[in-house]
């Protein structure tokens, strides 16, 4: 699929690689996210499997050139399976000294380092806290360093356009992308098309970016800058229609698909919070799918309005991140008491408090499981990859309406903005679950439960003969009227637990990646899926009895989990927290499981997982 867009034959040797991990890093105003995403698209068109990791600061426009203003985007592209954005870098593209300082430690020895030479000037070096210019002190000798005149050459390429300097420097990232596209034999047509579409209302910028991209490509091709180029052959990929998707977009689409299957409108009540806001933005664009999006006055009103809409018969959804979960907790308790469907989505980020808002963590699991007043058990579902957010969101809605219960959906800041190619499902293959509201007044009681699910009837206002009152006060087991009877309260608490137990009938037999029994079982949940999968596969490739289970249902847990755990000598639970699932598993199954805990606002590297597995196998 890879073609040379400018038509000239490549003069230099092409080295083949199985996979390459590259990172673009620059100032937060340097357009690194766009560059990374476009490089991803080019790689997808080149037929590779990909994994991406955007990494950006919380500050919208941090002061230029500072260490904390560095924004980066990492892409792993491969001719084999890809489970993660990659560990150490084969190539690093640097737009300024600050980006060099914060990213260099991840570059492999002898890795490719491309940097913009002109940016290594006195003021920039000072801002990046370099006392000596790293281009001159030999500290970059262990890398293949290519100082390219990115700024200077971009200026030259745009010279006759008479643009202000500021506009010229804004096209630098496309020049860099052009250079790298040639180096790795990526097709630049997808990016040329993207520029055409993205800047169709601004022909000057379109022209500038087009020239910069082509300029970079041509410089790499026609100069003696690189001795060779690299190629990563297309991967064996399952046939079908694909699109590249981020977790937040997938979550939004999963909600829409589920609401469509339920035959109901969506009501999203939300308050902007990083990294969840994109779901609100996304859903706000789909009003023709009968989607109401309500930007509430606060987190509490967001979930409250969603619950009110659920009372009226809509799919009530709220989206937030950790601190917002605390604010919503009281309403979630009410939702548990009145037994209405409601989806509470937590895009977890590093905490406590504001913590590191743009960085992922898995530290809200215990909050999701237990973070309410009184006994209020709820189903908790977690997504494991960006595309999997679609299915997790869909499942959350399905469980909520079938069992008349709030459901907590957990993703995280990594899944939210990372992307992967998604083999699109056929709409007909997604399960149907058309909702039928209660309309018959004969024998109606608000809390008369379905035997199979223990769900109470969904009786919407507007239905004649079903007028009833619900609320937070404890209710009579059948009539739903206020009841303080001691035995009734215990019966109600117990039935709310029994309903969770019923939900186990929705959980398919647990998929074990690896042997059914053996030395070590690695249990994960959420966004650690990729790192754990890649790590475990290394040992399986060596014939070791190491298996992996990744949990979608955190509550209720899969009914076969205890029995599977018992078939392994050791259990390892890697988590981006201090050991929350670990605690649950130890309590639930009395298993002496061991944790691997990383709390750095960054996903696990595969090497971190493999190192721990290796140690446990030796012990």
């Amino acid at each position: 699929m890879a073609t040379n867009p400018v038509g000239a034959p490549l003069q230099r040797p092409v080295q083949e690689r199985e996979n390459v991990v590259i990172r673009f890093a620059g100032d937060s105003g340097d357009g690194m996210q766009v560059t990374g995403m476009q490089f991803t698209t080019e790689s997808v068109f080149a037929g590779n499997n990909i994994g991406t990791l955007p990494d950006f600061p919380a500050e919208i426009r941090a002061p230029t050139g500072t260490l904390y203003g560095v924004s980066a985007f990492q892409v792993n592209f491969s001719s084999r399976n890809v489970y993660t954005p990659g560990d150490d870098l084969d190539a690093l593209v640097i737009m300024n000294p600050a980006a060099l300082k914060t990213n260099l430690e991840d570059l492999k020895q002898n890795g490719i380092l491309i940097l913009d030479k002109a940016e290594f000037n006195e003021p920039n070096l000072k801002k990046a806290q370099y006392t000596v210019n790293p281009l001159e002190d030999g500290s970059l000798d262990k890398y293949q360093t290519y100082p390219v005149e990115i700024t200077k050459m971009t200026t030259l390429a745009l010279k006759d356009m008479n643009l202000p300097n500021r506009s010229v420097t804004r096209s630098r990232n496309f020049f860099a992308l052009g250079v790298v596209s040639w180096l790795f034999n990526r097709p630049i047509e997808p990016t040329l098309n993207w520029i055409k579409d993205r800047f169709k209302r601004n022909p000057e910028v379109m022209e500038a970016n087009t020239r910069a991209l082509k300029g970079g490509y041509n410089l790499a091709e026609n100069s003696e800058l690189f001795a060779s180029s690299y190629e990563v052959k297309p991967a064996q990929i399952a046939p079908g229609v694909y699109r590249n998707i981020t977790g937040n977009t997938a979550t939004a689409l999963g909600f829409i698909a589920a609401a469509k299957k339920a035959g109901l409108p969506i009501f999203l009540g939300s308050y902007p919070i990083t990294p969840a806001s994109d779901i609100l933005h996304e859903l706000a664009g789909y009003k023709n799918f009968n989607v109401y999006t309500f930007q509430a006055e606060d987190e509490i009103a967001g979930v409250g309005a969603a619950l009110g809409a659920a009372f009226g018969g809509a799919i009530g959804i709220t989206t937030t991140s950790g601190p917002g979960m605390n604010l919503k907790a009281e309403t979630v308790g009410l939702a548990a008491a009145v037994e209405l469907p409601l989806i509470i989505t937590d895009i977890q980020r590093a905490g406590p408090s504001t913590g590191m808002p743009t960085k992922p963590e898995q530290a809200d699991l215990l909050q999701a499981l237990y973070g309410r007043h009184g006994e209020a058990p709820l189903p908790v579902i977690a997504a494991s990859t960006p595309a999997d957010c679609f299915y997790a969101a869909f499942e959350a809605v399905r469980i909520a309406v079938k069992y008349m219960t709030p459901v907590i959906l957990l993703t995280d800041g990594y899944l939210a903005s990372a992307s992967e190619p998604w083999l699109l499902p056929r709409v007909a293959d997604l399960p149907d679950f058309k909702v039928e509201f209660r309309t018959d007044p004969q024998g109606f009681f608000p809390y008369l439960r379905d035997e199979g699910t223990l769900a109470r009837p969904w009786a919407r206002p507007g239905t004649p003969g079903l007028e009833h009152r619900i609320g937070g006060l404890e209710k009579d087991y059948l009539t739903g009227n206020i009841s303080y009877a001691p035995s009734n309260h215990e019966q109600m608490v117990r039935v709310r637990y029994r309903k969770m137990a019923k939900i186990t009938q929705e959980i398919p037999p647990t998929k074990i990646d690896g042997p059914e029994r053996g030395k070590l079982l690695v249990i994960g949940w959420g966004s650690t899926y990729g790192s754990i999968t890649a790590g475990v596969k290394e040992f399986q490739g060596q014939g070791k009895a190491v298996s992996h289970i990744h949990l979608r249902y955190l509550n209720p847990l899969p009914p076969d989990l205890g029995e599977i755990i018992a078939r392994f000598d050791k259990v390892l639970v890697p988590e981006m927290n201090m050991g929350q699932l670990l605690r649950v598993l130890r309590a639930e199954y009395l298993v002496d499981a061991v944790g691997l805990n990383k709390i750095q606002g960054r996903p696990f590297k595969v090497s971190e997982i493999t190192a721990k597995i290796a140690r446990m196998l030796e012990e």
Binding site: F289, G304, G308, G313, P461, H468
Partner: protein
């Protein structure tokens, strides 16, 4: 809303089978009675009526109305009601709240529901005390209020609910009193007919923790001198002998006695549509002034729920009802063979 089935309804149709659990003598009984009396006249089928409340004595209200009801959490009723009304514009949604629920813990939600002009009928029972938690002062208690939590008197200046509503440009603002049955019925009817967020402050006596808070307004002997009953287009006259009135001196209202060269034509004439007058009236409080009751201010503007639903209808007309297959396939897609 069809009115065919509603026409035959009586007060009893709106009475639920639940025992009313307010303290004997509570002003809430009177309010419940007036609401139940008025509802058959509204011509709305009872299945289309929803009462939503927060927490507090007033918030028990939905349990006693034989309509749909939701007794929710402290302060959050306006938020919950907003979600319901927006997604179900066919319903008539009422919010019952109190001075603690609506002005303290839930002040934010009340403010924003009024600001957005969500078509909600909000009744705020103001008894100037916390009843359900057994007698602490509230945001409308007078400065220096001695309660269990303020043994030497509260240091808080009280909040004026009508000024809050005016401040966020609420489209219907009124005040009435629990024991004034006829007046209350009229106001509730006016509120029901208004399209948009309605805010009705009902002065209500808590006979256990703040008995007599409004005694001078409700006492048969004094009330003619302490109430100013507002009527649109009528001069502001009050007093046992209808001989006192409100006159404007510069930008300040003053109480005058008719006669001695002061005639009715010198008095302020109530204009419900005038926000400046609404402001002056809202600031008039006893003992310097009689307490204005009635409709303080009415205006029209598009409701939030209507605007939200228009956006959805527009989108459907422009782009057609959403097609899921197309949605999934939008953007850069590619086929692997």
């Amino acid at each position: 809303m069809s009115t065919a089935s509603a026409a035959k309804l009586t007060r009893k149709d709106f009475v639920s089978d639940q025992d009313v659990r307010w303290c004997p003598g509570c002003g809430d009984y009177a309010i419940l009675a007036q609401v139940q009396k008025v509802f058959p006249e509204l011509g709305v089928p009872k299945e289309n009526v929803v009462f939503i409340s927060g927490i507090g004595c007033s918030s028990r209200f939905p349990y006693y109305m034989n309509t749909y009801g939701f007794h929710s959490i402290h302060g959050r009723a306006p938020a919950i009601a907003t979600g319901l009304k927006v997604s179900r514009p066919d319903l008539m949604v009422w919010v019952v709240t109190g001075d603690g629920d609506g002005l303290s813990i839930g002040g934010n939600h009340l403010m924003h529901a009024l600001r957005r002009n969500v078509d909600l009928k909000i009744l705020l029972f103001n008894n100037r005390i916390y009843g359900l938690t057994k007698g602490q002062y509230s945001p409308t208690s007078e400065l220096g209020k001695v309660t269990k939590s303020t043994p030497v008197g509260s240091a808080d200046h009280p909040l004026n609910p009508l000024l809050l509503a005016l401040g966020v440009d609420a489209t219907f603002i009124a005040r009435t009193i629990d024991v004034e049955a006829k007046h209350q019925q009229d106001i509730i009817k006016r509120a029901a007919e208004h399209k948009g967020a309605t805010f009705v402050e009902i002065l209500q006596n808590c006979n256990v923790y703040n008995d007599g808070a409004f005694a001078s307004l409700t006492d048969k002997e004094t009330k003619a001198n302490t109430q100013l009953v507002l009527e649109h287009g009528k001069p502001m006259i009050f007093g046992k002998n209808k001989d006192r009135g409100i006159r404007l001196k510069g930008l300040t209202p003053e109480v005058v006695t008719l006669g001695n060269g002061i005639g009715v034509s010198d008095l302020l004439v109530h204009d419900e549509t005038d926000p400046v007058l609404g402001f002056l009236l809202s600031r008039m409080t006893p003992p310097a002034f009689p307490m204005p009751i009635g409709v303080i201010r009415v205006t029209e503007k598009p409701t939030f729920d209507a605007l939200m639903n228009h956006q959805i209808q527009d989108a459907m007309e422009k782009s057609g009802a959403g097609d899921l297959e197309k949605l999934l396939h939008q953007g850069d897609v590619w086929t692997v063979k």
